[in-house]
C-alpha cells in the first residue's frame, strides 16, 4: 500500500510535465544551452580531445538556472491553487508526497539529460573516448541535478510565490556551487585555517562533480550528493509540517 501510493503520486507528477508545455520548453532549452556551452564556449572541436569534459563542466551552471525553474512550481503552485489541501487530505503521508514529487522531477531531469545522447554519439564518431568516463560524467550530473532539485523543492514548499521560490533556490544553489570556487576559497585561505577552507570546499558541488566527471568515482562524492539530497528532502518534509501548523 505504502509503495503503491508513492508510485501513483510519481505517475501523476511526471505526466503533469507532459500535460503542459513545461516539458517541451525545458527539454529544448536544456539541449540548446548544453549545445552552446559544449561546442561554442567549451571549444569542443578546438580542444581536439575525444572526451565530454567541456560538455559536463558547464552542467553546474546550466543547473543553476534550469533546476530552480523546474522545482519552483512543485509546492508553490499547490499552495497557490489550494490543491495542497486536497493532496494532504488524501490517504498519503507527507513523505510520500514529497518523494513522489521529487522522484518525478528527477526522472524528468534524467529524461532531459538522456536526450543529450547525440553529443555522446558525436564524440564516439570523431574519436575513441573513454565511455566509462562519460558514463561517470552522466552519473555525476544526474546526482548533482538531484541535489539541486531537492534544494529547489524544499524552498518551493515555503512560499506560494513561484518567483520567490525561483530566486531563493537560485541563490542557495549558487552558494553550493561557489563554495568550491577559487574566488571564495581565496577569500578564506588568506586567514582561515586550512581545515576550514577544506570544509567549505567540501560543501561544493564543483569539488565533487569535477572528480566524478573526470571518471574518478569516489564513494565519498556519491555519498556527498546523496546525503545532501536526503538532507534537503527531509527539510522539505519538515517545512511542510511546519507550515501546516501555522
Amino acid at each position: 500500500m505504502k509503495g503503491s501510493n508513492l508510485w501513483v503520486l510519481f505517475k501523476r507528477e511526471l505526466s503533469a510535465y507532459f500535460a503542459t508545455p513545461i516539458a517541451y520548453v525545458f527539454i529544448v532549452i536544456f539541449l540548446f544551452l548544453s549545445g552552446i556551452f559544449t561546442f561554442y564556449l567549451g571549444g569542443f572541436f578546438a580542444r581536439g580531445q575525444a572526451d565530454l569534459l567541456p560538455f559536463f563542466s558547464f552542467h553546474p551552471w546550466l543547473y543553476l538556472f534550469l533546476i530552480p525553474a523546474l522545482a519552483m512550481r512543485l509546492w508553490a503552485e499547490e499552495r497557490k491553487s489550494g490543491s495542497i489541501e486536497l493532496l494532504l487530505t488524501l490517504p498519503v503521508t507527507v513523505s510520500q508526497a514529497v518523494m513522489g514529487k521529487f522522484l518525478a522531477a528527477w526522472a524528468f531531469t534524467a529524461i532531459a539529460l538522456s536526450l543529450t545522447f547525440p553529443v555522446w554519439i558525436t564524440v564516439n564518431y570523431l574519436g575513441e573516448p573513454d565511455n566509462g568516463v562519460i558514463l561517470a560524467g552522466y552519473l555525476g550530473s544526474l546526482l548533482m541535478a538531484g541535489a539541486a532539485l531537492a534544494i529547489g523543492a524544499s524552498i518551493s514548499a515555503l512560499t506560494k510565490n513561484q518567483v520567490i521560490a525561483f530566486v531563493v533556490s537560485l541563490v542557495v544553489t549558487l552558494v553550493f556551487i561557489l563554495s568550491g570556487f577559487p574566488l571564495v576559497l581565496d577569500f578564506f585561505s588568506g586567514w582561515a585555517p586550512q581545515a576550514v577552507v577544506d570544509a567549505i570546499a567540501s560543501f561544493s558541488f564543483l569539488t565533487h562533480f569535477d572528480a566524478i566527471s573526470k571518471g574518478v568515482i569516489d564513494v565519498r562524492d556519491i555519498i556527498y550528493f546523496l546525503s545532501l539530497t536526503a538532507f534537503w528532502l527531509f527539510a522539505n518534509i519538515t517545512f511542510l509540517e511546519m507550515k501546516k501548523a501555522d
Binding site: 503542459t20 491553487s81 489550494g82 486536497l86 487530505t89 488524501l90 501546516k244
Partner: protein, 314 residues
C-alpha cells in the same frame, strides 16, 4: 452507539489570533450538520482540523474511533473532503484526475473503472470528461471537486461551501445529491446560505468568533427568534378608534409587547410579541372576533434563521 465524529475541546491559534476556541460537539450517522457563521468565524479552520490538514493547537478530533493526530491515514481513508473553492489539478482532465484519486484511494482495474464511472454519472460530468479542468465552468469545477470527495463512498463527507458560486439549478442538484447520501453517511457542510440549511441539514451549528453560539435543528434555532410565534395583524378602520384597539390588544394576557407598524389608507397594523414565544394566535383571533374587527391580514410568524443568525453573531 459511539458518535462517528467526536470533537473535544478543539482549539486553534494562529499566533495571537484564536480561530477556533474550545469547541466540542459530536455528530452521528445520518446527520447532516450545517456549519453557519460569519466569514472568519472558524468554520473552515474546524473542517481543516477534522480532515487532518491542520493540526489543532489543543483538543482532539476522533473519526470512527480513530484519533486524527494518531491515525491520520485511517481517518483520511474514511473522509471525503471538498475544500473551499474545490481545488483540483487544473492541467488534468476530469477523467485523469478522478483516475488518480481512485488510485490513491486504493482502487485498481475493474473496480477503479466502476467507481469512476459511477461517480461521473452521479455528478453528471460525462460531457466534459476530456477537457482540462482549467477550462471548465465554475459549476463543473465544483462537480469535479464533489466527485473526488464521494468517489470512495466515504463514511464521512465534509464540504466547505459546496454550493458557493453555483446557479440556482446547480445548487438544487448538489442539494439533491447531498439529500440522497444523507442516510448512510455523516455529512458536515459549511454555508452562508441560510435557506440551504433548511433544504438539506438536519442540524445546524452557528459559530461566531471561534465558539459555538447555537446548536440545534433548524426549527429549534428559528424558535430563538424574537419573531417566533409573534402575530402580524392588519385591520381595516372600524368603529373602534386606533387608541382603543391598541389598548385592548395590549391588555391581552399573552401579549408581552405591541409594535405599531406603518399601514396604508388608515389601516391599522400591529406586530404582537408573546411572552416566552407561547402561541397567541388563537387568543388574538378570539379577540378580533369578539370586537368584530375587520381583518385584512392575520398570521403567525415562524421567525427566520437570518434573524437568529444576525442576533447571535453580530
Amino acid at each position: 452507539m459511539q458518535a462517528m465524529i467526536k470533537i473535544d475541546r478543539l482549539r486553534k491559534d494562529f499566533g495571537r489570533f484564536t480561530a477556533v476556541d474550545d469547541i466540542s460537539f459530536e455528530v452521528n450517522q445520518g446527520e447532516v450538520l450545517g456549519f453557519l457563521g460569519p466569514n472568519g468565524a472558524g468554520k473552515s479552520t474546524t473542517m481543516k482540523m477534522i480532515t487532518g490538514y491542520l493540526p489543532p493547537s489543543s483538543g482532539s478530533v476522533t473519526v470512527a474511533g480513530y484519533d486524527v493526530a494518531e491515525h491520520p491515514l485511517e481517518v483520511k481513508r474514511r473522509i471525503g473532503y471538498l475544500p473551499e473553492g474545490a481545488p483540483a489539478y487544473p492541467d488534468m482532465t476530469p477523467a485523469d484526475f478522478l483516475d488518480f484519486i481512485a488510485e490513491v484511494r486504493g482502487f485498481r482495474g475493474k473496480e477503479k473503472q466502476r467507481r469512476v464511472q459511477d461517480t461521473v454519472r452521479q455528478v453528471s460530468l460525462e460531457d466534459v470528461l476530456h477537457q482540462p479542468i482549467d477550462t471548465l465552468s465554475k459549476g463543473f469545477k465544483r462537480r469535479v471537486g464533489l466527485a473526488q470527495a464521494i468517489l470512495h463512498d466515504p463514511q464521512v463527507l465534509i464540504m466547505d461551501e459546496p454550493t458557493d458560486g453555483l446557479d440556482p439549478n446547480q445548487k438544487h442538484e448538489v442539494r439533491t445529491l447531498i439529500g440522497n447520501m444523507a442516510r448512510e453517511k455523516v455529512i458536515i457542510l459549511s454555508t452562508h446560505i441560510l435557506e440551504e440549511v433548511h433544504a438539506v441539514c438536519s442540524r445546524a451549528i452557528i459559530i461566531a468568533r471561534g465558539r459555538i453560539v447555537a446548536d440545534g435543528t433548524p426549527e429549534e434555532l428559528e424558535a430563538k427568534s424574537q419573531w417566533h410565534n409573534s402575530v402580524t395583524l392588519t385591520l381595516s378602520p372600524g368603529k373602534d378608534s386606533p387608541e382603543q384597539v391598541r389598548e385592548q390588544l395590549e391588555a391581552m394576557p399573552g401579549v408581552a409587547r405591541l409594535e405599531t407598524l406603518p399601514g396604508h389608507d388608515n389601516r391599522l397594523r400591529y406586530q404582537l410579541y408573546p411572552h416566552a414565544a407561547r402561541p397567541i394566535l388563537a387568543d388574538v383571533s378570539r379577540m378580533v372576533h369578539e370586537r368584530q374587527w375587520e381583518v385584512e391580514e392575520m398570521r403567525q410568524n415562524q421567525g427566520r434563521l437570518d434573524d437568529v443568525f444576525r442576533a447571535i453573531t453580530a
